[in-house]
Amino acid sequence: MPEIVKVAMADLKVSREPTVLITIGLGSCIGVALYDPVVKVGGLAHIMLPASRHAGGSDGSNPMKYADTGIEMTLAKMIELDAVKRRITAKIAGGAHMFSNMKEGATFLKIGDNNAAAVKEKLAQEKIKLLAEDTGNDYGRTVELHTKDGSYVIKTIANGSKVI
């Protein structure tokens, strides 16, 4: 059995094969799975908000919470484990509208969409190819990144499981 590495909210972890990086219950957050297939090093970031500039500017803010700084940190940590940036590819999941029947301002409903857009923008800026995504809709997702082959397993309560 490969070792299981849990990633909490606004957290990130990187590891080598044979491990499974897991984050339980993504809602509007995005699980960004990064993988270098040659050295079999994976990184999983649980991104909560689009960009660190939204943080009210406080320096103490957790950089792992945001798409821009979270992705940068994950890449840096993978490179420390001998991953090579140009080989790293991405798969993303999450960004749901959990309270889709909420009659409130559009900003709230858009947190998931904004997170997905910010993650994609940051990946493009870092020239990381996005191989697959499972984002949006109104349900939670538990995700597992398997470092043996880069497969990204997505589990839901009522909408089945899939591997991307």
Partner: protein, 195 residues
């Protein structure tokens, strides 16, 4: 300050207990009432309940002291609560659903009652008007429900005051967790009034 917040949390939780006891005509007890000032991403650990599916009711309250109420109820508890509310008149859930439409409305009504109990106390304490939105109903992984509620709060700051209560209806083995989270960027009125 934390002591005063705790007192406010206890008063609000007692109001919830009174309202629920009146509605269900059963013994309602409060198991935990805690107030924490914490980094938002640490809140799931302080709630410390299952990673599995539960029913979530998310309510926003607006006014000078806006915030969110998140109520988490286990699926069997929600079904029993709905049956009590509907006095056996409820219909059966459709295939693949956990609650029927009527049962869901009954559970949403519980969300309304819990929220209004809280915000009545708050509106009095802070001498301000607060209004609430209808509850948004979800049934999903608990961390996914928390994730969406907390991401919303996190947009306004890194730290939040969270009122965390667990309530139990003893006769029926019903338990329910209530989180009240004032918006992090609008908490000043609370601190000013409690000075």
């Amino acid at each position: 300050m934390l002591h005063k917040l705790k007192k406010l949390g206890d008063e609000s939780a007692n109001m919830v207990i009174e309202s629920l006891a009146e509605m269900t005509a059963m013994d309602v007890i409060m198991e935990v009432s805690a107030v924490n000032m914490t980094e938002i991403e640490q809140i799931p650990a302080t709630v410390g309940i299952t990673d599995d599916a539960m029913i979530g009711l998310y309510v926003r309250f607006t006014g000078d002291l806006p915030g969110s109420v998140l109520i988490l109820i286990s699926i069997p508890s929600a079904q029993r609560l709905a049956d009590i509310m509907l006095a056996g008149m409820g219909d059966e859930p459709a295939e693949g659903e956990v609650l029927s439409e009527m049962q869901q409305s009954a559970v949403e009504e519980i969300g309304n009652i819990i929220t209004s109990s809280f915000i009545d106390i708050w509106a009095n304490t802070f001498e301000t008007g607060l209004t609430q939105t209808p509850p948004a109903f979800v049934c999903d992984f608990v961390p996914s429900i928390l994730d969406a509620a907390l991401a919303r709060a996190s947009d306004g700051g890194d730290f939040a005051v969270v009122f965390n209560s667990a309530i139990r209806i003893t006769d029926e083995d019903i338990d329910c967790h209530i989180l009240v989270l004032p918006d992090p960027d609008k908490m000043q009125i609370m601190f000013d009034n409690l000075e």
